[in-house]
Symmetry: C2
Subunit: 339 residues, 2 copies
């Protein structure tokens, strides 16, 4: 708590060897006599020595750290980020790399600063998981000399490598499922304007058209992925002259809002109303009835991203510009045949 940290030189001096030998022991290099190794290890143990990271990074030119930039970690609409982080964290751990998580609070200046920080030698690669695509940080990313991958990225088509979820198929699967159950008035509660939103909407409309059902713009409502916005959207839909018999919400949280609204009006789910969500967060299995939803491979997204970017830092071949991860329809109790 008070005394200054030990250094390599001191350890070397105490153990009566050169700095290099200590360095080799620390880094598990072979070519050190077992006896010497033992002695050095003892000194390290006793003194509680830990190698200084800055010095090590500076000298080696590598940090073995991946930076991950996210908007927030608490708000409802970013709940799914936790799962991505878990996948990324586990993967990083397996490689014995560190993961450095930075939050931006959806603030343009912070987005820029965080990325700049990471690019200034704090990390060997950057993973960007932001719903906003500001020109400021995008150009920074393109200029930086370390690998970058954007994850599930919002608005703009960038020349940066990206890993995305197959949102279009997600939109199709949900809609087709409801159609198969005989529903014809299927409402769509969208998220904030983003590529994910557009692609899912496109899938929804495509399936309707394929089945000869006109797209009714009255049934397409805007939300923001949060529970309250799903509630509000549902209230609006229920007040329509010809209300929907099924609702497809672009997040599980919004689907919960729909269920809440339905419950307050005495509508039973799934008998009076079928509901499909998106994400498959753990809570989807906890509510009653359990939520039918589109599962995003979030853990896998994090995992894949780490594996890929570490490969990139090793100078391995950079894979195709855009990678698409599959989604899956999970049928539970919140959907049933239309009456």
């Amino acid at each position: 708590m008070t005394r200054p940290a030990m250094t390599l030189s001191e350890i070397a001096r105490i153990a009566g060897v050169s700095k290099m030998t200590v360095s080799n022991v620390i880094n598990g290099k072979k070519g050190v006599a077992e006896e010497t190794r033992q002695r050095i290890m003892e000194v390290i143990q006793e003194t509680g020595y830990i190698a200084n990271r800055s010095a090590r990074n500076l000298a080696s030119g590598r940090t073995r750290t991946i930076g991950l930039v996210v908007p927030k970690l608490n708000s409802n609409y970013t709940l799914y980020i936790g799962e991505i982080l878990r996948g990324a964290g586990d993967a990083a751990d397996q490689h014995h790399w560190d993961l450095l998580v930075c939050t931006t609070s959806d603030d343009e200046e912070r987005e820029f600063r965080r990325i700049q920080s990471l690019a200034s030698g704090l990390a060997d690669g950057i993973l960007v998981l932001l719903p906003r695509a500001e020109q400021s940080y995008l150009s920074l990313l393109q200029e930086t000399h370390i690998p970058v991958i954007t994850l599930d990225h919002g608005l703009i088509e960038t020349p940066l490598p990206s890993i995305d979820v197959d949102n279009h198929t997600g939109g199709r699967l949900a809609t087709q499922h409801l159609l198969d159950l005989g529903h014809r008035r299927i409402a769509f509660i969208g998220g904030t304007y983003s590529r994910a939103h557009l692609e899912r909407l496109d899938g929804y409309q495509e399936v309707l058209k394929e089945n000869g059902i006109p797209v009714d713009s009255e049934l397409i409502v805007q939300g923001d992925y949060s529970q309250p916005s799903g509630f509000k959207a549902a209230e609006h839909l229920f007040n329509l002259h010809d209300p929907p018999t099924a609702i497809f919400a672009l997040s599980d949280a919004m689907a919960f809002g729909v269920m809440e609204s339905a419950g307050r009006r005495g509508l039973r789910i799934p008998d009076d109303l079928s509901v499909v969500g998106f994400d498959d967060i753990p809570m989807a299995g906890w509510v009653h009835p359990q939520l039918t939803t589109i599962r995003q491979p979030l853990y896998q997204l994090g995992e894949t991203a780490i594996n890929l970017i570490i490969a990139m830092t090793d100078g391995d071949v950079l894979p195709g510009q855009r990678m698409l991860l599959p989604v899956e329809l999970v049928v539970r109790g919140s959907t049933t045949k239309a009456r």
Copy 2:
């Protein structure tokens, strides 16, 4: 993406000045001619130069970074961490410090490694927010030469400075509230064994005794802060010969589980059953009826912790060993008079 990063020397060479002048400009030191400053800034802009963090940290001996160690960011029982993080992040930003968040997955080895990492010059101070108190990392924390604060810490009384929430009062407030409403059969759904759990339980029992109500161990059930565990605990309680008319759950998530279980049995809340949670996560205001709960000052906890530890790194006076933050009873719709 490919060309190597710029260095201070190159900027200095291009601008035709010495390294020191560039350094002074970057760090906003005064005593640089405006003209020179302009010229250097231009070069920096054009080249996209960013100062290398490792070099800077190494030379200055400071990182202006606080490390925060948490178990996970996604699991239900750690949902409240997001709010702490928000407070910490905002406070760090105001000081222009960085926040480095590390997750451990409740894994002893990772706890140790993460803390060791941070103590190895990655951070100037460490905030520990772990529900587990393993001797391995505790002794490491006590040996380290940088300031450490434990937050809302679990099991063991350590000699480390700590910031905690007033759990005891929380337990009292919830119980007293239900008592005031006329309830006599008040169940308690606990969390995993920890100081927080014990203190809240103590408050609960204390108030009961003060009011001459015998503590019925049948009404004290163990949970793990998750929604499903609350559900299970409620199922158990409802099957008792003499079931409770009110339930106090040690997390909002468990309270949701209780509400779910009650709903499936046709018990109306609050008429047939009063429910009090703990935390006051945003979702507490979204469910129907809204949840009466004990609000923890989570944002403030994060904020306070950062302010304190930055002060400590500046060598400022170390405040009392243990700081207690107040809790608050938030009365909403899930509690009412006993019939």
